[in-house]
Amino acid sequence: MSEARLDRKPAPDVGGAQEELLHERASATPMRERAERAHVDVDTSAIAGAETLPAVSAPLRSLQEWFAAVVTFPASLDDGSAMAEWPVERVLTRGPQLSARERLGVYHYAYRARLVECLIDDYPGLNYAIGEDAFDALAGAYIVRHPSRHPSLNGYGQHLASFVRDEYVTEAFSTSFAHDLARLEWALVEVLHAAAAPTLSLEALQAVPPTQWAGARLPKADTLRLLRFTHPVNAFFQAFRHDKSPTIPSPEPSVTAVYRHGWTLWRMDLTPAMARVLEALFAGATLGEALGKIETDESDEASVEEASRNVMAWFREWVSGGFFGRIDVGG
């Protein structure tokens, strides 16, 4: 277990890139500040020839299908144009200074750039971890596989973790680490957007007579995610947040709670014993059953001792953090 993981102090996930989760990603601002002339590597005499051909006069639907096919084409605009029904020059006019193809290149560039930026907003740690070039390649492949079909970009990156694990083939980075980190970062997005709902208070917990604790159930709050990883990704992410330039760690199991409390997002690593208790509770076990898990599942004396010594402190911390939606007693 790494030293960073032993320091279980919950970390508020505020400032820096976190605030960017509220970025105006749906903004009307086009991603064109870096727009350059579309690379044109075609026979210019062919373009001139196309300009003299009759303008395409087609139904609006057909023009839109053509336009979308060209500007969302993953390779170059010229390749997209070559695949399309009409040459660009038959559909669009030349401008005062740019050819029709160069003008359309502004949209071709913007389509990909906007979605890549959205993914960087949601996955800043992964972008750092694998490097900008590898991330750009991953994002490009993701955009082809998962074009947006929604009015909002808030959920656009939701498939990135499964995509990198199940479909993306690369030797540029460890896809199992990337999968872990993407899950952690997406959990932050999900928790940010989760509906506010009452959570169990310490007062409500303390109002339950001790005789009823063993039979009590503590369902999970909607603003919490409990994640098991094959790498210590939270420690990596924490170091990234603090600009400590972490390197990708070796595989080592970890469990992290990501939760929102008081409109602040938090991340907290859990010991194996804590994770077993919480997982059992969230699966519907009673408190008595969940605590019994530690003793029956493992011949891990350290965990048993840890639980018996700290269980009250754990619950105070978890309830204070808004881990539970409520407490159900008896029945």
């Binding site: 605030e19 509220l22 970025h23 105006e24 990603r25 749906a26 903004s27 009307a28 601002t29 086009p30 064109r32 500040e33 727009a35 350059e36 002339r37 303008a55 395409v56 006069s57 087609a58 139904p59 609006l60 639907r61 023009l63 839109q64 299908e65 336009f67 979308a68 500007v71 969302t72 559909v91 669009l92 006019t93 401008g95 005062p96 200074q97 740019l98 160069e102 003008r103 359309l104 502004v106 949209y107 913007a110 389509y111 906007r114 979605l115 074009p147 947006s148 079909r149 009015p151 909002s152 970009l153 808030n154 928790v191 940010l192 957007h193 989760a194 509906a195 506010a196 929102r260 409109w263």
Partner: protein
Amino acid sequence: MINRWKLPDLGVGLGLRTVHYRSILEHSPPVGWFEIISENYMHTAGKPLYYLDRIAEQYPLVMHGVSMSIGGTDPLDRDYLGELKKLRDRVQARWVSDHLCWTGVAGKNTHDLLPMPYTEESLAHVVQRVREVQDFLDGPIALENPSTYVEFRASTMTEWEFLGRLAKEADCGILLDVNNVFVSSFNHGFDPNDYLAGIPWDRVVQFHVAGHTNNGTHAVDTHIGPVIDDVWRLLGKARAQAKSSILLEWDAEIPTFEETWAEALRAREFVADLGELGEQAKTPEVTS
């Protein structure tokens, strides 16, 4: 001229941006109103709405969307419109706007404001869809002229003719973005004064100003940096025709709230009748 719906002149406002949330809530600056990007507060139930509700308690809000795809040929997205209506009612938005554009086809959203061919077929299509949306929302919407980078050979009319006829035939409002007029005029080689001359001013309910980036060969509507004087002057000419609310958009490399607001208040240098309105419009309810 006051717009035909008597939508209020809210004075000078700012596009609401997350980096300014804390400053706004801590200092309650005397901004006339804020415009929100509708989609940033749709399909979320969490933190964005928490901030929005607090700001809506203090300021008039207007909703500005980017995903209605009013010019699109896929069916109108009723779920989207339902969410839009819910948000409008939640924050008591004074009006709702979007863009004269389409955003995708066959279910795929490019999240861009894609240009229309300005033809009779397009016009009839958009008029019909605007009417449907206005029926659904039970009120007028305003459509903004986007910056464009291409023109269709199939077009049979100018953008301003199209926009003017659309506003009259669909009975909708115009959100006139004078920066976009300037950017498109540079990209397509028309005179922005011709554009203004074609606008039916009784339909104009709002103005946008913003910075843009001129790459030499083409201008790009980046919403970065201060507004250039040519654009402010266009605003002055336009505002002389329609006494409508003015809004500054600043979306990238956003400075402090104070700097952004100071830029918005430059409107007073170019708009003759604005006076101190921008700083007094905190409670802009129109009384008669």
